[in-house]
């Protein structure tokens, strides 16, 4: 038996670095979907507008229904057929005679038949030969009017037979009128003739004229009819062609319109889907996804990122306090029992922090360290020749002195006046260094809040060295400089830094630092071992 292990841990170990490539085409799918998303976002207005225009066009087409021209065609043909009936041509239409046309013809024949039996006075036959559709319509109307005339005992007869001349005779006036465009059929003529035979008989002249007229008219009518038929046929052919073209065109347009309609529907659907998708995305955005707390791994990564840098530049300011490790005095060993204390000062500088490893860095910098130190309760003594004991301290190179009358050095009147007024003063040393530290930093805690231990050396360059006597009233007078302070010295640094990496780029530092000066004096007069303590506050920018 091998070693037993928790299943979870087993899987965790096996899948630690598990990676697998998806299908090679997956990116294409993602890209196309992203394209669609961006297209939807670019101009949805035009989709809407285009869709509305298409819908509007379709609605217009639906209302107008131009494709119904095809269904109107038969009616035109019917009318044409009726015209043919009127012109005594039952079968000239290529489309054939419709039932209606036949019925009309029958009706007319019936009317003609009735006419033969019931006519008393007037027989009026109307026939119009027309050259266009409008006339055809008129002709139909005429037919109806004729029917109504029949009920009013004014019988109209229309003959279906062709080439028969029509004669209209007015019985009541016994006068026959013939017109170029009024005709009657043979049957009507014979009936009329039989009914008016006595009159014809008595008027041979009229009969012969009628005969001549009939012959003439018959010939003329034949020719005219023929011409008219030809014209009509031509017209019909033309109309048919035009209609056929119109139908074809209409079909094409209908097809295009239908296609556009289908396309617009498809577009509208696509737009709706897009809207829905956008809404879904927006809704999904609004819905708060369960936020997964960061895993250990992620937290570790965050930590690493926050503390990760190559170089950090840190301007800083510090509160400084100067002092001595021993009880000695740098001014005079006689002052060792006088109370002494540091006066807090403010220093500043800039430091570069170069990372060596995850936990260690080396730091370089430059800063100004102004220091102040006070020796209190100095009893001033002025001797008879105006010599003041403060100028006789071993550690001070006296200044503010005047030329004595005897060629020696004596106290200046200004100093004399000051010390005459103040017999107890404090001696204040003002010392300033330019400090160039080189430190090694080791981070004991390397997290968002990190703690570091710092140690190194600083080069001190003396920039100011003044000693003042200060009265209780606050007045002070410059009395000289420390004699043995070196221009260059070294200091040993120790520090404990706390750093808050509040962002990837920025860090806040607080660092208490202790700096012990190794060789500040050329001659250590009063066993003075100076140090200074600084509390540094800095803001680091990390690169």
């Amino acid at each position: 038996m091998g070693n037993r292990k928790d299943i979870g841990k087993l899987f965790n170990e096996r899948f630690k670095d598990f990676e697998q490539a998806p299908d090679a085409n997956l990116w294409n799918n993602i890209a196309s979907e992203l394209d669609q998303e961006s297209d939807r976002k670019i101009a949805p207005f035009w989709f809407y507008f285009g869709g509305l225009v298409l819908v509007g066009m379709l609605a217009g087409l639906w209302f107008w229904q131009p494709w119904n021209t095809t269904s109107e065609l038969p009616s035109l043909q019917e009318q044409q057929t009726i015209v043919n009936n009127d012109t005594l041509e039952n079968n000239t239409s290529k489309e054939g005679t419709t039932t209606d046309a036949l019925e009309n013809t029958n009706t007319q024949e019936t009317l003609s038949s009735n006419n033969t039996t019931g006519t008393k006075t007037t027989i009026t036959t109307q026939s119009s030969i027309t050259n266009n559709e409008d006339h055809n319509t008129t002709n139909n109307t005429t037919l109806i009017n004729n029917s109504s005339n029949t009920s009013d005992s004014s019988l109209n007869v229309q003959n279906s037979d062709q080439t028969q001349p029509t004669i209209a005779t007015n019985n009541s006036s016994s006068k026959t009128q013939s017109t170029s465009n009024s005709y009657t059929n043979n049957t009507s003529l014979s009936n009329t003739t039989s009914q008016t035979s006595s009159q014809v008989y008595t008027n041979q002249k009229t009969a012969s004229i009628l005969e001549v007229l009939r012959t003439m008219e018959s010939a003329t009518q034949k020719a005219r009819k023929q011409k008219e038929l030809e014209a009509r046929e031509t017209y019909q052919t033309k109309i048919k062609n035009e209609l056929a073209q119109a139908i074809t065109l209409q079909k094409e347009e209908s097809k295009i319109a239908s296609q556009k309609w289908f396309d617009s529907i498809a577009n509208l659907e696509a737009i709706k889907k897009a809207e829905l998708a956008v809404k879904t995305v927006e809704t999904a955005k609004e819905e708060k996804l369960p936020k997964l707390p960061k895993t250990k791994e992620e937290r570790e990564k965050d930590r690493k990122e926050s503390v990760d840098y190559k170089l950090a530049i840190s301007p800083y300011t510090s509160i400084l306090s100067y002092g001595s490790l021993t009880k000695g005095s740098s001014i005079d060993d006689r002052l060792v029992n006088n109370p002494r204390d540091a006066i807090g000062t403010i220093g500043y500088g800039i430091r570069a922090d170069y990372k060596l490893s995850e936990r260690s860095s080396v730091r370089f910098g430059i800063g100004l360290a102004p220091l102040q130190y006070r020796t209190s309760d100095f009893q001033v003594l002025i001797t008879g020749d105006n010599n003041i004991n403060i100028f006789q301290l071993s550690g001070i190179n006296p200044q503010n002195l005047g030329q004595g009358q005897g060629g020696g050095i004596e106290t200046s009147p200004q100093a004399l006046s000051f010390f005459n007024m103040n017999d107890v003063v404090s001696i204040e040393q003002d010392i300033s260094y330019i400090e160039v530290p080189i430190d090694y930093q080791y981070r004991l805690l390397n997290k968002r809040v990190s703690v570091s231990f710092n140690t190194g050396l600083s080069l001190f360059v003396l920039t100011n060295n003044e000693v003042f006597a200060t009265a209780e009233s606050g007045q002070s007078i410059f009395i000289g400089r420390e004699t043995s302070l070196k221009d260059l010295s070294l200091a040993f640094n120790l520090g404990l830094g706390t750093h808050y990496n509040f962002s990837k780029k920025w860090r806040f530092d607080i660092e208490p630092a202790f700096k012990y000066q190794l060789n500040p004096y050329s001659d250590n007069i009063g066993n003075f071992k100076p140090y200074y303590f600084g509390l540094q506050f800095g803001m680091s920018y990390k690169f």
Binding site: M1, G2, N3, R4, K5, D6, I7, G8, K9, L10, F11, N12, R14, F15, F18, E19, Q20, A21, P22, D23, L26, W27, N29, I30, A31, E33, L34, E37, S38, V281, K285, L289, P290, K291, L292, P293, K294, T295, K296, E297, E298, K301, D302, E305, K504
Partner: protein, 184 residues
């Protein structure tokens, strides 16, 4: 071009940068999808959805925290959304929780794909809990918040998932052994 530049370009919708980002992380995220989904096809769907969501929400990424972690969270969330509507499984009793869920390492399949198949065959709720707890190191409290279940349910689902895995691994092992004996 470093990751920050790629992310910035992706935020502007630069397709080339999106493709670079996709190539950088596709394998890792697909592995994640495979673990959380029932099969390869659903894993690919999930990966596609996740990348689209990532690119759409790229502006929401403010640079804080790990970018990979951010993408992983989106991917896992997509998988959770996919399966969390499946039937809720009641907690099992404490008695079940005492059952041994360790296994002899030698019995476990050597092939990673076989192990992946075992995870994928788990009921969705079990699979989610198992993945979140064991493979992505979430606590039961976190899982309860993520899936909207109680801590007890999370624990019991995890335990049940492990029991199922153990049973399957054992069966697989026995079959393999029998075959090897039969084959001499």
């Amino acid at each position: 071009m470093d990751l920050v530049q790629i992310i910035e370009k992706c935020k502007k919708g630069d397709r080339q940068s999106q493709q670079i980002l996709y190539k950088m992380y596709k394998d890792k995220l697909f592995a994640l999808c495979l673990k959380y989904c029932k099969n390869r096809a659903e894993a690919e769907d999930n990966l596609q959805d996740s990348f689209i969501k990532i690119f759409q929400n790229m502006k929401a990424y403010n640079g804080k925290g790990s970018f990979e972690g951010w993408m992983k969270r989106i991917t896992i969330n997509r998988a959770i959304d996919r399966y969390k509507k499946e039937p809720f499984i009641e907690p099992i009793t404490d008695q079940h929780l005492k059952e041994d869920i360790s296994i002899d390492v030698d019995e476990a399949p050597v092939n990673l794909q076989e192990m992946l198949a075992l995870i994928q065959e788990l009921p969705s709720r079990y699979r989610l809990v198992f993945n979140l707890y064991e493979l992505d190191n979430h606590t039961h409290i976190e899982i309860s918040k993520i899936l909207g279940i109680s801590v007890g349910t999370s624990k019991s689902n995890l335990h049940r998932a492990k029991l199922i895995l153990k049973e399957k691994i054992t069966s697989l092992y026995i079959v393999t052994q029998k075959n090897s004996i039969a084959n001499g």
